[in-house]
Symmetry: C2
Subunit: 201 residues, 2 copies
């Protein structure tokens, strides 16, 4: 018999499948990702992925996890070198937005849930989400430590997260116009929110 697949071979295949999946997403959007298409790109038959994943939902969860990791990576990389917490936080925020707009289909997938499947069922996905969340919280903690903000870091982090997410989603669904465009609304949002959390006195 062919030797049973080693853990690393399984990992490898899954990784390649996620790569191909994200590429298809970027090219053709969510509905373009079919098992037949992704299998074709991997040079295997349409049924082969079923040896590595239970069903399409599990494949989507894996791609989602990968996307969340790429996303956290992008934020962390963007904010790596900066003179102070303010600069690094701004860089992280910009990296967030850049990632979301440049990988629109992946971003959409990341925050889309079919009632059928839930992050709790997919530990790797939950972990990837947690990593992204931690990255965002981290910058708020730094801002508090440097005496810029005051309050509950995680709470403030969620506030900013929701605000950025809303901006990005409205932008992606074309709800802004040229007069009140993304950058204008974003700037005003950040100005107002920041003011609301500044340390007093």
């Amino acid at each position: 018999m062919p030797k049973p697949l080693s853990t690393s071979e399984i990992e490898d295949f899954r990784d390649k499948l996620c790569d191909a999946g994200l590429q298809i997403f970027a090219e053709k959007g969510v509905e373009g990702l079919t098992l037949r298409e992704v299998a074709a790109r991997l040079g295997v038959s349409p049924m082969t992925p079923y040896r590595y994943f239970k069903d399409k939902d599990e494949i989507l969860a894996a791609i989602r996890a990968r996307a969340f990791n790429d996303f956290a990576e992008a934020m962390e990389a963007g904010a790596r070198r900066g003179p102070d917490a303010v600069a690094r936080s701004n860089a992280a925020g910009e990296a967030y937005i850049r990632f979301a707009l440049e990988h629109a289909e992946a971003y959409r997938l990341m925050f889309q849930v079919s009632q059928k499947e839930c992050a709790d069922d997919h530990p790797l996905l939950a972990k990837a989400i947690e990593r992204a969340r931690a990255t965002m919280t981290h910058h708020v903690k730094q801002l508090i430590a440097e005496g810029v903000f005051e309050g509950d870091a995680e709470l403030i982090g969620h506030v900013f997260w929701a605000a950025i997410h809303g901006l990005v989603m409205l932008q992606l669904s074309g709800k802004f116009n040229e007069r009140y465009d993304f950058d204008t609304v974003r700037h005003e949002t950040f100005r107002a929110l920041t003011q609301g959390f500044l340390k007093r006195g």
Copy 2:
């Protein structure tokens, strides 16, 4: 020949189809809405809707338009009677959130775009969206008129819109936990944002 369909008959059929569509959405979510299912509920054959709509995308656009109108209606109704602009604005905001969470599938549809179809191609949808936008802007104008806020009403309206949208979408995709739950983050978001737009002096 059977008398050609009158405009009102066409309107009628489209209306009933949107009703059925929204009902299916609420029951089974986005993927539950198939032409065969909606046709069955109308008691017609699966091909009949094609006489009233070009394709499924046009049907979805019609349902979306209907949903946006229901949404605007809900906000307007919620804010109708209130002693002052602050109370009415809060009521509108609450109505927004209530609608979004109670009609989650419809709300998701409203803000979902497949790159294929765009609001510009569907005048009724564009109009419905504009109505919702106007409703939101209206309350900010009132707040400015009463001397609570200062600034560009439409811009501030978009800022609040994006923030609420982000909150709702994160909630719908299960990204909040019990410690930093929807109401907590929402409250803090409104507190901070409001502070950022208050009229000074």
